[in-house]
């Protein structure tokens, strides 16, 4: 699914989190929103997911206006910064949550749900942890469960807020590859937020550099490296 962001702005009271920004994301791309703290990355991601509504501007999914769609209608697989796993449910129930939440007509039968959860656990290479609770998992395992839970709803796009933020360097590298693989097998349009320029450059097809609520530059990693448009971008990617 391709995503079109047209002149989106967002104000929280007196603070402008996003000045009008526009961005076009082709279907199937893996996009990084890169920028320092407070640059509006999370805000933009939440607007895409329908968790926040823009003050002005439009969002188009596959050419049709999605600005007014509710969170549920967007069907975005969202991975939260601290994963937000349901702490009182097992891993299995966490992953099954979205399927069970479907209206009766489109809800798969229990056996089918179990089959899909098992398949997702295989996909994230953690086949044996279905019965555990989130508190019994490592940080990296939690992140993968959160990813599986988001994928379970057969989302139209994948949105991840600092998916590797709280992990150590080795795990980060493994999971990066994991995300790349999952993106390549599912072909989902994927947007992830990061403030780590190395991570963005290494992983993404398209990097969006943001600063103070504005998009400074959009481009392929090698183009941004070779031709930084502004002084900010040059400084940020060499730091």
């Amino acid at each position: 699914m391709n995503i079109e962001i047209e002149e989106i702005s967002k104000e929280f009271g007196a603070t402008a989190a996003l000045h009008p920004v526009s961005l076009s994301i082709p279907s199937g791309t893996l996009v990084a929103l890169l920028g320092p703290s407070g640059s509006g990355k999370t805000t933009l991601l939440r607007i895409l997911g329908g968790l926040e509504f823009p003050t002005a501007g439009r969002v188009l999914f596959d050419g049709s206006d999605a600005t007014g769609l509710t969170v549920q209608e967007r069907r975005a697989g969202f991975v939260f910064q601290s994963y937000a796993l349901f702490r009182h449910m097992t891993v299995f129930d966490n992953i099954a949550y979205g399927l069970r939440a479907r209206p009766r007509k489109t809800r798969p039968p229990a056996a089918e749900i179990a089959r899909r959860v098992t398949r997702l656990l295989d996909l994230i290479k953690l086949p044996d942890i279905g019965a555990r609770y989130p508190s019994q998992l490592s940080g990296g395992q939690r992140q993968r469960v959160a990813l599986a839970r988001a994928l379970a709803i057969e989302p139209r796009m994948l949105l991840l807020d600092e998916p590797f933020g709280a992990l150590d360097a080795k795990v980060r590298r493994e999971l990066r590859q994991g995300l790349r693989d999952i993106h390549d097998t599912t072909g989902l349009t994927t947007v992830f937020v990061t403030h780590d320029q190395e991570e963005a450059m290494e992983l993404a097809d398209l990097v969006v550099v943001m600063s103070m609520g504005r998009i400074e530059q959009v481009g392929k990693p090698e183009d941004i490296r070779a031709r930084p448009k502004t002084a900010f971008v040059r400084e940020f990617i060499t730091s």
Partner: protein, 288 residues
């Protein structure tokens, strides 16, 4: 501080000298014994002074039974209402940003800081026969003051903070992320509430409800002002105890007091039992 500057006579920081430990423990037990245990024993001893049969007989007297029924009715109405209000208030305060939040937070605490007698008087002023509203209500056959609705209102007011106060810190600490996750996964607001919000706050909610219940059954001051103390009609257990006591019906007074204490004891036991039964889950939830 670096390692080389550690004091020579090193001692675990969490261990106090034995004397202090024992002293504090004994002091604590002594205070508990004098302030809680001894009076409780005294109440039960006084109730059973003339035998179990007499004590039970005093409870089956019509006025006493009516008081017990009324107290149970008040609790049965007030506690669910305040559980719902408490959840709604805690929700509004912790999950949304809006002006006037500090004011509402203060208002929630009002029943804690206002003397119950004053609270009762407020309702008399508002709904009593001397107010326009009260007169109208009486004329139409809905008396509030000196009637059961007044008792319910006063109890509702007094016990309002318990559930909200228990829930607010828990909900603040948990934030909105899990609920947002449920929404992105396609859950409706109601489904989110019942499958994510409620399970996450259930222990705090249970505790708040138990406290609310204990106070709803035990409230004296505010209820005394609005009830009018009509025997067999608007007399709750605490009021009945006072009446019996003033009439030198010592066995009846202390038996009912013992029963009230027993109700409180049952709620606390229930809570402890539940905590013990679900200790694993509790620990798992808290570690996150």
């Amino acid at each position: 501080m670096t390692e080389t500057t550690l004091p020579l006579r090193w001692r675990p920081a969490t261990t106090e000298p034995a004397l202090v430990r024992w002293g504090l423990t004994v002091l604590c037990l002594a205070v508990l014994g004098v302030l809680l245990f001894a009076p409780l024993i005294a109440v039960f001893a006084e109730a059973l002074r003339d035998g179990v049969a007499l004590a039970i007989a005093s409870l089956s007297e019509p006025d006493a039974r009516s008081a017990i029924r009324l107290t149970l009715l008040v609790a049965a109405v007030v506690v669910p209402l305040n559980a719902a209000f408490g959840i709604a208030a805690a929700w509004a305060i912790t999950k949304f940003d809006w002006r006037g939040k500090p004011l509402v937070l203060t208002l929630i605490d009002l029943p804690f800081s206002v003397s119950p007698v004053v609270a009762g008087l407020m309702f008399v002023l508002l709904f009593g026969a001397n107010s326009a509203l009260g007169a109208w209500l009486v004329a139409h056959g809905y008396p509030i003051v000196f009637a059961v609705p007044g008792i319910m209102l006063a109890t509702l007011f007094i016990t309002f903070p318990f559930v909200a106060r228990e829930l607010i810190p828990v909900m603040l600490e948990q934030g909105r992320a899990e609920e947002e996750a449920a929404l992105t996964l396609g859950a409706t607001g109601w489904r989110m509430f019942f499958t994510v919000t409620l399970p996450n706050i259930r222990w705090a909610l249970l505790y708040g409800v138990l406290l609310c219940n204990a106070r709803a059954m035990g409230e004296f001051g505010a209820v005394a002002v609005v009830s009018g103390k009509i025997r067999g009609q608007t007399t709750t257990m605490p009021l009945m105890i006072e009446m019996f006591y003033n009439e030198y019906l010592s066995v009846a007074a202390f038996t009912m007091a013992a029963l009230l204490a027993l109700l409180a004891f049952v709620t606390l036991t229930l809570k402890t039992a539940l905590e013990w039964r679900y200790a694993d889950q509790l620990a798992a939830n808290h570690r996150h």
